[in-house]
Amino acid sequence: MSTQGDLLHIVTSDTISPRRVRAGRVLVWVAGLGFLGVAAWQILFASGRVPWGFDNWRPVLLAYLVWATALCAAQVIVRGEAGKRTLFILPAVLFVVSLVVFPLLFGLYISFTDWNLASQQGMQPNGLNNLRQMWNDAFFWNALKNMVYYVLAVFVEYAIAFGLALLLNAQIRARKFFRVTFLLPLMLSPVAVSWMIGKSMMEIRFGPLARLARELGWDRPSFFGSPEVARFMIMAMDAWTFIPFMMIMLLAGLQALPKEVIEASKVDGASAWQSFWEVIFPLMLPVSVTAIVIRVIFKLKLADIIINVTSGGPGGATDSVTSFIFREYRDRSNVGYGTLLAMVYLVLIIIFVTLLLKVVARFMERPQ
């Protein structure tokens, strides 16, 4: 993932007067102190040490925004051309840092408290109790185990997506029609999908899929009754929405393949099967790996369909980690514990994705 264009080298002869530099610095400091001052005042007000303050913390946010703007402006004032260059990425960096780092730290604090929204006491730090509770929580481990199944299902999705990409890449008529049609499921919101398919088409009495199942000899179809079938149905619905995603990436890869190599293999007498396995598939490996990795990352966030179709049932057989924590928040208001689970999940994801990328990197190096 290191696409880097040519660098634009610029030599500028900025002469910035010391007064201008000073003005810029003063601007940042004034805005920064203003922000800190407002924040400090509000903290004092919230803890009841000063008699009056703001109704909520929004003024602090505004003061932060003023400081961020001042920081951006000061880049140009103090550093001239170099500052103008920094200005390209500074807004995005500030945005992400303030919206990710602070909430993450705050979340880390919450996760070691016994906070429950239903209780009146507010939050109390409770040390490692949450971790101990997690260790004994069979439902959480079950949800993690389900995530393993869900992630493994990506390979099946990949196989189907590859097949569809090959079909779309063949010499066919009405290619645009098929491409748009195949793309459509990706556009639909998982919530609508869970009603359209999960609740309506798989309805046991009237749903068309249940009818079809009866025609095919399954006497009393129940799609969400037994754990295995339910899990498979969730996988199928998720696959239905996301197969187009991989398909498009693989199709783009197929279209970028060098034609000469494939023609050469044909001239040398390779059958279609051979030219696929020995030419196309190896050449497609980089694209395949990218598609699979991104799909796995998306899969790790799987929740909407599960929340809306089965709410994790039967007996937690379809739970993903996200849907489990969602219910912990929604139904049990168990905020401290839920956040700890989310943090643990984040750590597991980071480890998993890092390992995945490492393995992929090593695996990709070998052929050369």
Binding site: M1, S2, D6, L8, N56, R58, K84, R85, F88, I89, P91, A92, F95, V96, L99, L104, F106, I110, L164, A170, I172, K176, F178, R179, V180, F182, L186, M187, L188, S189, P190, V191, A192, S194, W195, I197, K199, S200, R205, F245, I248, M249, A252, G253, A256, T290, L300, A303, I307, V321, T322, F326, Y329, V335, T339, A342, M343, Y345, L346, I350
Partner: protein, 307 residues
Amino acid sequence: MTGTTQIFRDAGSDRMHRAKWWTSRIAIYGALTIWAIICLFPIYWTVTTSFKLAPDVMKGNMVPWLDFTPRWKGWQSLGLSPDVIFQTSTVREEFLKRFWNSLITSLTSSGLAVVLGSLAAYGLSRFSYRFGFMRNSDISFFFLSQMILPPVVLALPFLVLYKSLALLDTRIGLILLYTLMVLPIVIWIMRDQFAGIPVELEEAALVDGLGIWGAFFQIVLPIALPGMVAAFILSLVLTWNEYFFAALLTATDAKTLPVMVASQTGSQGINWWSMAALSGAAILPLVVVAIFLEKYIIKGMAAGAVK
């Protein structure tokens, strides 16, 4: 002229070849048709069900006019059928409010993400930065690593944070989160786009007296516009369909369409026709987008895949 002996004929091997060609054609089109049915049937089912009455649903009638007479029942319950469209309807107001919320949040957050992301991606593909120990590749990794951040980790801290900032149940709150969510994807797509633009163009512009921002706006931006549209539409799809944050962070005012759809299912048994109409209305905008702007969606998704 009696002898009708054919002088030129296909050799056996040629005929075999043709038979093989036909089988492969049939197999290809068969597979394509089957998958097309798999893709389209749920949409067809939803749309037709929204015109059905209860008996039609129970009998499993499928084809309008042949099996059953289409009625406006489903759309009537949303207040959107021709006979009630001019009357006041609380359901319609509710629906339009949710629709409007979804529209505003998804358009604004996608727009914001494209602006911030394009600027950052351009900077990263053209200049070399150094913030402390962070070089360009580290900054890129920092942005892209946000992609693996599961929403559930941020949900609760944001709930508490928004409560104290009075941003809970507001569109601004959702917009900020959605922007954060799609920003890495935008940066990923746009970095690829900018890397494909030759740097000589800007060099020429700089020689001719434009500043770097002038060169960016007047030279680079018009070239990168299709890529930006692609990134915008992809963000739009993700933000329009987002359910998790909306379910946790909105209650009445800023509730979006997916939350409305989800909240209907549990309430009063399943009201088939109105649910079908609601789902249909929720997916319609993006189906239209997919049909007309398919090119850009594919371009956006292909951007990162092929290098």
